[in-house]
């Protein structure tokens, strides 16, 4: 009991069972509401909005759509509009006004196959530059969209002709600290991680972590890129120090075997970039803190700077369910509040205490 008082504690505040498979859940910025996206057993897609009211979840709105919805983001919308961008099983990218969800604000057939992952930047005051959405799909392409441009992506990242197309499982924006710089990181089913520089329109870096990359995320999107966490299929995750890129060795990294099963998600705390939570295939959550090394760079034999990786510290771990936790999202407004959905068809609101003292 005494040790519980020092460490951060993860409290399962509210749990709600749903009647559909939920794939993604996201907080609506500047509200006590979140959206859950998934598919009904009858094969249609669903978006539900829940609001926390006195420790209870109230269903505010339910929207049914033709295709199951795999992922969604608020990253590319303004705080006033708060439009939700979703990717569905059919490969369509839709932007919804949740007040008037009948028809999408923006819609495009983005990919030939399911959109596995979506991310946005430039909205909500996070990231300088134009608001853009990136989608990664099973068809092997990663595309960047601007909702002001119809039908065609602004950037398309695809394998060369003749190359095998790998399933892209995850995408993330980062490095958006001024109007020009921006990066997209994508993770593929064969363990490839690719970093695309949108300013130079080039592939900046790639590596392979030998196991399918389930989730990548920059610690913050709107800074000179600092850290990248990539989680993998067999329970490991890697933290890359993105400050110093060595011409041959790339970025320094530290890896940690956290879960006995797939690490499905990683999410950084919006209020502290060095704290992040990983969600595992066995229904467990691990809360980590990255510790910087004493010196973040060192000189190699040729006197070229190379990065030095720090270490990760386990702050807390809990087991919530027996099924994989498919999504996790920290509230951008309230530190320590987060929502997670799992394949046991339930969504949980968690409170993580003592995050300000870690």
């Amino acid at each position: 009991m005494s040790s519980t008082l020092e460490k951060p504690q993860i409290i399962a505040h509210i749990q709600k069972s749903l009647n559909y498979t939920v794939f993604d859940s996201r907080w609506i910025p500047c509200s006590a509401k979140f959206v859950c996206m998934g598919n009904f057993a009858r094969g249609t897609g669903v978006i539900q909005i829940y609001e926390i009211q006195q420790g209870e979840l109230q269903l505010v709105k339910e929207i049914e759509k033709a295709k199951p919805i795999k992922c969604g983001t608020f990253g590319a919308t303004s705080l006033q509009q708060r439009h939700l961008a979703t990717g569905d099983f059919d490969g369509s990218l839709n932007v919804w006004n949740l007040e008037m969800p009948e028809c999408p604000v923006y819609s495009v057939k983005a990919h030939k196959e399911i959109i596995n992952s979506i991310d946005g930047v430039g909205g909500l005051g996070i990231g300088d530059g134009a608001p853009e959405i990136v989608t990664g799909s099973r068809d092997g392409t990663v595309k960047v969209w601007d909702s002001r441009q119809k039908d065609t992506p602004v950037v398309n990242m695809e394998p060369m002709e003749g190359e095998t197309k790998r399933d892209c499982w995850t995408v993330a924006f980062g490095h958006a600290f001024n109007d020009q710089d921006r990066c997209v990181c994508a993770g593929y089913d064969n363990g490839d991680i690719k970093l695309f520089d949108l300013r130079n329109m080039s592939l900046r870096w790639e590596t392979n972590i030998r196991n399918g990359v389930c989730s990548v995320e920059f610690d913050r999107k709107d800074i000179n890129m600092n850290k990248l966490v990539a989680t993998s299929l067999e329970g490991k995750f890697h933290v890359f120090d993105m400050r110093t890129q060595h011409p041959t060795n790339g970025f320094a990294s530290v890896s940690e075997k956290a879960h006995k099963s797939t690490v499905w998600q990683v999410r950084h705390l919006p209020q502290n970039r060095d704290v992040f939570m990983t969600a595992g295939g066995a229904g467990n959550l691990h809360l980590w803190k990255y510790e910087y090394p004493a010196q973040r760079t060192k000189k190699d034999a040729d006197n070229v700077d190379m990065g030095v990786a720090g270490s990760v510290n386990l702050l807390q771990n809990v087991t919530l369910s027996t099924q994989p936790i498919s999504s996790l999202d920290w509230s951008p407004d309230k530190q320590g509040l987060c929502v997670c959905s799992s394949f046991d068809q339930s969504v949980r609101v968690l409170i993580v205490t003592k995050l300000n003292t870690v």
Partner: protein, 957 residues
């Protein structure tokens, strides 16, 4: 090879088992083999049950599963391996060895991965009520707050077009997803642009892009060394909420950058935050980052800005002080530090900085001593004479700085005059602590005459003249010398000074407080000398402040303090403080003075809240040594009055032998005294009250030599027939006394449990457990048996004993200090204790996800069965952790079979007949020796029938 070894080990286990079938004191005992059946089966059967399972633990020899080996092993990998084997249960079930191993690993490497355990999410129960209230209230507050915000957000018109959003990315470029391809093509293919694109064509960015891509091809894509972060954000189109949120986020980013050591970046982000909304926090943090970057003047500006927003911001003041210091503005730096100390007198940082400054000043001093003294004189003057000079404030703060000397020359002149008049004044000044503990001449201290109005008047008069000639009754001088000594860390001298002050006048509360502080410091400085330094200065500075404060009030206060004996001590709190101070430093003299100054009638009220055994003992000691021979009548009066304190009877029993001896000594001496003030009878009566009362009270001796928790209250009771009647009325009180007796040196928690046990029948068991932990059960039972005559109490006591006695057997196990977990070993020992017969423990293989252990026992009668069951439930309830479920007794109405499902253990309590009939053992231990099963051909069994789980062969021993 490996299997052979395991087999040998198993046979050794077996012999032990056959020798001591129930010997749980041996850790070796093995519940683990697929089915270890005791009691019901013969030893041979048990042997046949012991089949070595497939040994995946080949790399860990059995000898290594041993306390001494684990203790000595420092190879972490090997230990982790051992732990894994232990946890797997393949080599046996050794909960305490496992725990021991875990602890050892934790010692070697607290972050070891094997120590990670699966936790459940925290619940309300994991928090104290207050914490939980905080959490939930915080959330509620946020909910309402965010709802309000959202409503506001919705009311605002949407200016989506007004915003200055960068244009759509112009080139519809595609990136090849392999690096080699990029290298081959060199650069992205040039896309023909439409006319609309050309309209948006920006030469600058385009050029930059080209340059960038050129550079990129040359050095295989290395990030630019310095990131260009714009330091301002255009906020024209943002709403207030957005601005706030954004500013907060930028500040967070700054904080993070600061934490990781990128101060430049941190400054940039703080600047961005400030450009959106200038908050004190962001500015303040920027100041700190700038200080780290050693940009002092910018830091100074930021601090100024913060202080404009929040005038009393301590951090800003400290930072400004640091900036000033580095810019060479000693004066301002000093001002800021003083300001900090005014707001927060114990601010360690400020004190440290100030001390550094004083240190440097002291160095200076060695160069020009004479000048220094002058300035100190100035200060002394300021305090003692009630100067009305406007420049006084400045003057004080400028002490010790060059500029101070420059700016106040005029004042100094006047001071030098005074100095020439009264050279002795200087020597007694506390301000002189920098040089030495100025010795008071004997002439200064020789008078110990009590203060009179007359001398005070004279004192005040002289002061008014501005002439600080020292007076014979020089409490103040002594007090100052004490301060000075304290500053010089000569605590012993300081203490003696203070005691002298208190001798002169007990009511000088400052002196008392200081005395307490000094004693405390003295003890601390004995332990360690290094980090004490800053604390010392803390006190010193604090006192200085206080002193200056009193200086401002002037001499009136000084005399007021002296003359207000009665006024001061009328306050119970003040009195308590003083008394406590005296007790804590063992200062009998002070205590005696204190007692002397107090009117007896008011003593109970003053002392009432404080009285415990220690204090009473101390008071008795003080009365005995200091007051008895001079004021016997006062002593008697005090004792008479003290006896009216309602807790006294209780407290009396807490006195130790010596104090009791002293008490009787006092009464003997009082007997011998011949006065008119009181008669011999009074003394005898009082002595009876004190000493006889004690006869029937419990006498408690403390054995302080025992380690913590060994607070054995050796309670034995002397019976007094005379008091018997009274005693019976006092049962309730006696109980409290018992509690109190345990109080003596227990922590709060135990105290609570003890108290609870006496007040509530329900929790008697808890008390029992507590008791056996502390090996007090016998004594407590004594207490109850002998002191409580009424039936109610004896029943209570009996109940209590039984529960208390039932548990102790468990504790005889080595290495088991606290029973914390309700596990198999505990369960078995409890069963044995309850005389359950034929205990059979079956380890259910993990493949059957039903339970871990099946325990079957027989009882002699239905009554016996239910007694065992109820007792086990009780124990389980007591040891139950919050996350464990409640258990229920199945078959309450059934006479011959009861069952409790503890989760990892299922217990069947049966009468011998039913047991024979149902043969549960065979149900759970299907093996080749089961004749019935043998007869059935395996192919006719159901497909999912688990037959002889891993091993069909019979064991070789």
């Amino acid at each position: 090879m490996g299997t052979g070894r395991v087999a040998r080990a198993r046979s050794s286990c077996l012999t032990r088992q056959t020798l001591h079938p129930y010997n749980l004191t041996e850790e070796i005992l093995d519940y683990s083999s697929l089915s270890t059946i005791l009691g019901v089966m013969s030893a041979a059967e048990a042997a046949s049950a012991l089949v070595s399972p497939g040994s995946s633990c080949r790399s860990v020899p059995v000898e290594h599963l041993d306390y001494s080996f684990i203790q000595s092993c420092s190879d972490l990998k090997h230990l982790e391996h051992i732990l894994r084997v232990l946890r797997s249960g393949q080599e046996g079930f050794y909960p305490h060895l496992t725990e021991f191993c875990e602890k050892h690993i934790e010692k070697l490497n607290p972050k070891s991965r094997v120590l990670r355990k699966e936790n459940r999410p925290a619940t309300v129960a994991s928090f104290s009520a207050e914490e939980w209230r905080n959490i939930s209230e915080d959330l509620q507050l946020w909910e309402s707050h965010v709802r309000l915000n959202e409503a506001q957000l919705k009311r605002q018109p949407i200016f989506s077009d007004v915003k200055d959003v960068p244009p759509v990315r112009s080139s519809h470029a595609s990136i090849q997803t392999s690096l080699s391809a990029v290298e081959k093509t060199g650069r992205t293919p040039c896309v023909p642009r439409s006319y609309r694109d050309w309209d948006r064509f920006d030469v600058e960015t385009e050029c930059a892009n080209i340059d960038q891509s050129d550079r990129n091809t040359r050095h295989a894509s290395v990030s630019p060394a310095v990131p260009e972060i714009t330091e301002t954000i255009n906020s024209s189109a943002l709403t207030a909420q957005e601005k706030d949120a954004l500013a907060r986020r930028e500040k967070d980013k700054g904080n993070e950058a600061f934490k990781s050591g990128d101060y430049e970046e941190a400054v940039a982000y703080y600047s961005r935050s400030v450009s959106l909304a200038s908050s004190a926090a962001a500015l303040n943090n920027r100041a700190q980052a700038l200080i780290r970057l050693q940009r002092w003047s910018s830091a100074l500006n930021d601090c100024d800005a913060v202080l404009q927003l929040e005038p009393g911001n301590i951090k800003a003041l400290l930072r400004r002080a640091a900036a000033h210091k580095h810019l060479g503005h000693q004066q301002e730096s000093h001002d800021d530090l003083r300001a900090v100390l005014l707001i927060e007198p114990h601010n360690a940082t400020a004190l440290k900085l100030l001390m550094d400054e004083t240190e440097s000043n002291r160095c200076e001093e060695t160069h020009g001593t004479s000048r220094k003294i002058l300035i100190q004189e100035v200060d002394e003057e300021e305090e003692d004479e009630d100067a009305q000079d406007g420049s006084r404030e400045e003057m004080r703060d400028s002490r010790g700085t060059e500029s101070g000397i420059m700016g106040n020359t005029q004042k100094m002149h006047s001071c030098t005059d005074i100095q020439t008049d009264e050279p002795t004044n200087h020597s007694s000044s506390s301000r002189g602590w920098g040089e030495s503990a100025a010795e008071l001449t004997p002439a200064d201290t020789h008078t110990t005459a009590p203060p009179t109005e007359h001398t005070h008047l004279k004192f005040a008069l002289l002061k008014d003249d501005g002439n600080a000639l020292l007076q014979p009754t020089n409490k103040k001088a002594l007090y100052r010398r004490a301060l000075a000594n304290k500053g010089l860390k000569d605590y012993a001298a300081c203490r003696s000074d203070l005691q002298q002050v208190l001798c002169l006048d007990v009511s000088v509360t400052e002196a008392e407080q200081l005395l307490m502080e000094v004693t405390h410091l003295m003890m601390e400085s004995r332990c360690s000398s290094g980090p004490r330094r800053s604390i010392t200065i803390t006190e010193e500075d604090d006192d200085e402040d206080e002193d200056e404060g009193s200086g401002a009030v002037g001499s009136q206060r000084c005399s007021a303090v002296v003359s207000s004996v009665s006024l001061r001590s009328s306050n119970a709190f003040e009195f308590g403080q003083a008394l406590n101070g005296a007790v804590s430093c063992g200062d009998l003299l002070t205590c005696a003075e204190l007692l002397r100054s107090v009117a007896s009638e008011r003593l109970p009220r003053l002392v009432g809240t404080q009285l415990d055994g220690r204090t009473l003992g101390f008071i008795i000691r003080a009365l005995n040594t200091h007051l008895l021979h001079t004021h016997p009548e006062l002593v008697l009066k005090h004792l008479q009055q003290l006896h009216t304190t309602h807790r006294l009877t209780m407290v009396l029993m807490l006195l130790d032998g010596e104090d009791r001896a002293r008490l009787s000594q006092i009464f003997q001496k009082l007997h011998g005294v011949q006065t008119e003030a009181f008669s011999q009878n009074d003394v005898t009566n009082l002595a009876n009250k004190y000493l006889n009362a004690e006869h029937y009270l419990l006498r408690v001796q403390r054995h302080s030599s025992r380690p913590t928790g060994g607070a054995t209250a050796d309670t034995h009771r002397r019976h007094s027939d005379r008091q018997k009647d009274e005693q019976q009325e006092d049962h309730e009180e006696l109980e409290v006394r018992c509690c109190v007796s345990f109080d003596i040196n227990h922590t709060n928690g135990h105290r609570m449990i003890a108290a609870r046990c006496f007040w509530s029948n329900r929790t008697l068991l808890r008390a029992g457990a507590w008791c056996f932990h502390r090996s007090l059960e016998r004594k407590i039972t004594n207490v109850f048996n002998k002191t409580t005559e009424t039936q109610k109490h004896s029943r209570r006591a009996q109940k209590y004993t039984t529960t208390a006695e039932q548990l102790p057997h468990i504790t005889h196990k080595p290495g088991l200090v606290d029973v914390q977990e309700f596990d198999v070993s505990l369960l078995v020992s409890l069963l044995k204790q309850e005389n359950a017969s034929d205990i059979c423990v079956i380890r259910v293989p993990p493949e059957l996800k039903y339970t871990d252990h099946m325990i079957i026992v027989s009882g002699s009668s239905p009554r016996h069965l239910s007694a065992i069951a109820e007792f086990l439930l009780k124990v389980f309830k007591f040891l139950r952790k919050d996350e464990e479920p409640h258990v229920r007794l199945e078959g309450r109405d059934c006479d011959d079979w009861k069952c409790i499902d503890f989760g990892p253990m299922v217990l069947h309590l049966m009468l011998a007949d039913s047991r024979q009939m149902y043969e549960l053992e065979k149900l759970w231990t299907l093996r080749s020796y089961d004749e019935q099963l043998k007869r059935i051909p395996p192919e006719t069994l159901p497909s999912d029938f688990i037959y002889d789980l891993k091993h069909t062969s019979t064991p070789d021993c």
